[in-house]
């Protein structure tokens, strides 16, 4: 199956995009939701500011879902929804929308990602604490196994673990441990006889990096472990139920902002990892666009990615042969090595009490792996063409146009969405909504009930995404995931000695230690960059205030003022910098910390960087600034300059 991950702005514009893609030969839908929808906030919520329609489509109510799928026959469609914390809700909207098309739920085909542990570990779009989140997952699985039998209720994602820095061993081990936690939770909520079917409905969403031989071995190792797990832990007798089924999106972490055209090759090689050997070939492949590290891809960029899949499938002889690695000594050796490592790591997680209990441990391990990776890029040990070697380049015609070769979401979308939501609220039966939400709250309190029934009823009654999530937040409580930065190792000290001296000298002149706040405003959960900056700042001797993701500008400003920091570093990758950064600067002024300099890191197009600097930002860093020590040096100089003390570098 071929699809591209798509959706932006509102339901109407995304519907046009889908119909266009289907006409070009795409065979399924892969819906990207915006961050407010993913984290359970309506477009008019404070945290949604700047994020509405940015990284995907905004879906707040039934009307939006109907518009999104208008004219697309749901009985023939296979729809993948990248949705997790609010998966139960979006699935409910989908089911109710299908009803209106005359399609019953048992005909529906598709996937909800619905994997919460990797949200805590990597992606950041969680909404509720681990316990209740696992219950929501178990409830959707239990519901679909009976009522929507062709649906894949969960896609265990190892993809995002690799994005967060996982080694192949960690990717395998944590994904399998995650699956165990889910299956254990479901086994308490369905009849024993259904566990075979449950096991068979679980699919994976994996990553494929550019070291494509090892990556292929990784998939073979996962297939072995999955089969073993089914047979031994859950007693699944039917071999078909134990087959390792997975979809794939190839690696984004390795895609570079520098010389972005090279990414087209990387993507092609990565696609081989998941297609070469027939016995573990991916069921669905999504390829990112070449310019993903720059911003949101345009329709043409997505078409280019789709064409690559079509060339692989229809021009090459890739699909003509049985498994070409069968009997390969090298492949067998690689697989065995990965299996040994993964089994050991899985044991460790089980000893900690399973994946839910081991979130802190796994998060710290990932931050540490990522730190080691960055270090290897900095030292040149890990070659990244165009970034730390072969950096000379002629100007690229691909990024020559004004907006730098990316799609820019119309800033009017947010206001339109707020107005549409208000209109929806005014014309629905409020009493029915109130009753449905009260019933949802009651079902949430009663652990023995399947929450899907009340969720579908709330969707039908006209509740909004934010109302559904807020009702559950009130019952389950909020949650803040571990940041994992506390346990990351320090880099060997010699490399940093000079920088440490510099920080010491400036701290000495300041009278107290140089203090930095690293903040992630908005709903963007991609915290790699912020985490690595925080860890390095500590390693060079700064006091670092890092509060994790999802902070409002007011929260960041209050912290900065109360903590007495000398500099604020903000990280945003969701494209909402144009709105959020000026808001933070304004809030800092209101909190009495207007003099504190602000630096920004993220996926920031050049034109936006100019605007941010004009708005008062002291420095802007993008993924091509991989040399963290240089950034640290510039931070120290910035603070010294603003505080009028000697930076203390050689006179």
């Amino acid at each position: 199956m071929m699809r591209t991950y798509a959706g932006h702005s509102d339901a109407r514009r995304s519907n046009e995009l889908y119909r266009g893609n289907l006409a070009k030969g795409q065979t399924g839908l892969s819906v990207a939701f915006d961050l407010p929808t993913q984290t359970g906030y309506d477009p008019d919520h404070e945290l949604a500011r700047g994020e509405v329609g940015k990284v995907g489509v905004s879906i707040a109510d039934l009307d939006d879902m109907r518009t999104l799928l208008d004219g697309i026959p749901l009985d023939q469609m296979n729809t993948s929804m990248t949705i997790n914390a609010t998966a139960a809700w979006l699935l409910a909207l989908y089911i109710v929308t299908a009803e209106a098309q005359g399609v019953t739920e048992n005909e529906l085909q598709g996937t909800t990602q619905n994997d919460i542990l990797k949200e805590y570990l990597s992606r950041g779009t969680y909404a509720f604490p681990p316990g209740p989140s696992m219950r929501l997952i178990a409830d959707t699985i239990a519901y679909t196994v009976e009522h929507v039998p062709k649906w894949n209720p969960i896609n265990i994602c190892s993809y995002h673990l690799q994005e967060a820095g996982a080694t192949p061993v960690q990717e395998i081990a944590y994904a399998m441990s995650n699956a165990i936690a889910v299956l254990d939770a479901v086994s308490e909520r369905v009849d024993e006889g259904l566990m075979g079917a449950v096991f068979g409905r679980i699919s994976f969403f994996v990553n494929a990096g550019v070291r494509f031989i090892e990556e292929h071995a990784k998939l073979r190792a996962m297939a072995v472990l999955w089969d073993e797990l089914g047979l031994e832990r859950y007693g699944v007798q039917d071999e078909r139920h134990r087959r390792f089924r997975y979809g794939v999106q190839v690696n984004s972490l390795g895609l570079t902002e520098a010389q972005p055209e090279n990414n087209a090759y990387r993507i092609a090689l990565e696609a081989l990892a998941v297609t070469l050997g027939r016995s573990v070939r991916a069921r669905a492949v999504q390829l990112p666009a070449w310019n993903e590290a720059l911003g949101l891809p345009r329709p043409w960029d997505q078409q280019w990615s789709l064409r690559l899949q079509q060339i692989l499938a229809y021009e090459t002889d890739l699909l003509d042969y049985p498994d070409i690695f069968e009997g390969s000594k090298v492949m067998e050796g690689l697989v065995a090595e990965l299996l040994d490592g993964a089994r050991e790591e899985m044991k460790r997680v089980q000893e900690l009490g399973g994946a839910v209990e081991a979130v802190d441990y796994m998060k710290a391990a990932l931050v540490e792996s990522h730190r080691a990776r960055i270090n290897r890029i900095e030292s040149g040990e890990l070659v990244v063409v165009g970034v730390n070697r072969y950096t000379e380049t002629a100007p690229s015609p691909l990024t020559a146009d004004g907006e730098g070769g990316i799609l820019v979401v119309d800033p009017e979308v947010e206001a339109e969405r707020r107005a549409a939501l208000e209109e929806w609220r005014s014309r629905r039966d409020q009493a029915a909504v109130d009753a449905a939400l009260a019933e949802l709250a009651r079902a949430a309190r009663d652990d023995s009930e399947n929450i899907m029934f009340a969720t579908i009823a709330a969707a039908r009654a006209g509740a909004t995404t934010g109302e559904w999530a807020q009702t559950l937040r009130s019952e389950f409580g909020g949650y803040r995931a571990p940041t994992g930065v506390g346990d990351a190792a320090s880099v060997p000290s010699e490399e940093l000695a000079e920088l440490r001296d510099e920080v010491e000298r400036v701290s000495e002149s300041l009278g107290r230690r140089l203090k930095i706040l690293v903040g992630k405003p908005g709903l963007d959960g991609h915290s790699n960059g912020a985490e690595q900056i925080a860890v390095r700042a500590r390693d060079v001797g700064m006091d670092v205030v890092y509060q994790g993701i999802r902070l409002t500008p007011a929260e960041i400003a209050t912290s900065a003022a109360q903590e007495g920091v000398h500099v604020v570093g903000l990280s945003i990758l969701s494209g909402s910098h144009a709105q959020l950064i000026p808001s933070v600067i304004e809030a800092l002024g209101e909190a009495g910390a207007g003099e504190v300099p602000v630096i920004v890191g993220g996926i920031i197009p050049d034109a936006d960087a100019v605007r941010l600097r004009a708005a008062g930002v002291a420095a802007v860093y993008t993924p091509k600034d991989f040399d963290l020590n240089r950034i640290m040096h510039e931070i120290v100089e910035l603070v010294a300059e603003r505080q009028r003390v000697q930076a203390g570098v050689r006179a």
Partner: protein, 319 residues
């Protein structure tokens, strides 16, 4: 500059917005800043105010992972519901490495960022194991002049609650069900008996009730049956928080406050002295215990800086 005196004046008039500048000053180790800090502390001393700084100074301590931060979130909102302003000095457990530190504590305390009557400041632990950051004592005495409640949060069992007890009016030690080490520490005398014991995760039901019973039995065997032991749950619906606040209030009300504060100032001066003059200085005073006894004989009206000066004079007479 008269920064210390100005800040002292702002605190005396209840200006809570002075808090960040106060902390920036007391954390500053430069000689100029230290003399300003002395001015600040003099401006909020009982002799300048005519009474003890009115705040309730609460120490909250316990092993890592017992849920102190969630508990603090609930406590802060309960205090706010009772219209009391709150300052939290979080001494972060993250160890210093290469001089730097990662301060993650405030992330776990949920407050309304628009609420100007809540102040949170995190500080890395000092170089000494389990010790209070040097500035924390000064910050607590200064903020006590303006805030209704000043909380000092530290991590650990054994050394840390002793140090917090030097500063706080009331010390609450927080434990979770199944943490037998606290029980052992209490019985073996490694840990001093706190003013209040808090058992978290009461939502677990039976294990929490059992921990409660074990602690009460241990306290009885130590002849300390009057020490309150309270079970709380921080997850919705929170329980025991109201009772805990009432218990902290009751302890504070029954306390000989001037005596406890006087002791705090003397120990503060000794801590500053030993930070400045090191082990050699403390030896010149005949050791820590002798220094404490000597301090007990000094004029109760002296402020921290004056006490430190008398200690320095005494040490130089002895050496």
């Amino acid at each position: 500059m008269a920064e210390g005196a100005d800040l002292g004046e702002r605190l005396r008039t209840g200006d809570l917005s002075a808090a960040p500048a106060v902390l920036n000053l007391v954390e500053n180790r430069s000689p100029a800043a230290r003399s300003e800090t002395a001015q600040l502390l003099a401006a909020v001393s009982p002799s300048a105010l005519g009474h003890e700084p009115p705040a309730q100074v609460v120490g909250v301590t316990g092993p890592p992972g017992v849920g102190k931060s969630s508990l603090l979130s609930r406590l802060v909102s309960e205090w706010r519901a009772r219209r009391r302003s709150v300052a939290v000095l979080a001494v972060d457990p993250s160890s210093r490495r290469s001089g730097g530190s990662l301060l993650g504590d405030r992330a776990r305390i949920e407050v309304d960022p628009a609420d100007r009557e809540v102040y949170i400041r995190s500080t890395a632990v000092g170089d000494r194991l389990g010790g209070l950051a040097p500035a924390t004592r000064a910050a607590a005495s200064a903020l006590a002049a303006a805030f209704d409640v000043v909380v000092i949060e530290t991590v650990g069992v054994g050394q840390s609650e002793t140090e917090v007890a030097d500063v706080a009016d009331t010390v609450a030690v927080v434990v979770q069900p199944g943490s037998g080490d606290v029980l052992q520490f209490l019985k073996s005398g490694i840990m001093e008996i706190p003013d209040v014991l808090v058992v978290t995760k009461a939502d677990l039901g039976r294990p929490a009730m059992r921990a409660l019973a074990d602690l009460r039995a241990a306290l009885r065997s130590l002849g300390a049956r009057e020490i309150p032991v309270i079970a709380v749950s921080s997850i919705p619906p929170p329980t025991g928080i109201c009772e805990l606040v009432d218990t902290l209030d009751a302890h504070r009300a029954a306390l000989d406050l001037p005596a406890r504060r006087l002791r705090a100032r003397r120990l503060h001066a000794l801590a500053d002295f030993s930070a400045e003059y090191g082990d050699r200085g403390v030896r010149a005073l005949g050791g820590r215990r002798a220094a404490e006894r000597w301090l007990e004989q000094q004029d109760p009206g002296l402020d921290v800086a004056e006490l430190e000066r008398t200690l320095a004079a005494q040490a130089s007479r002895n050496s």
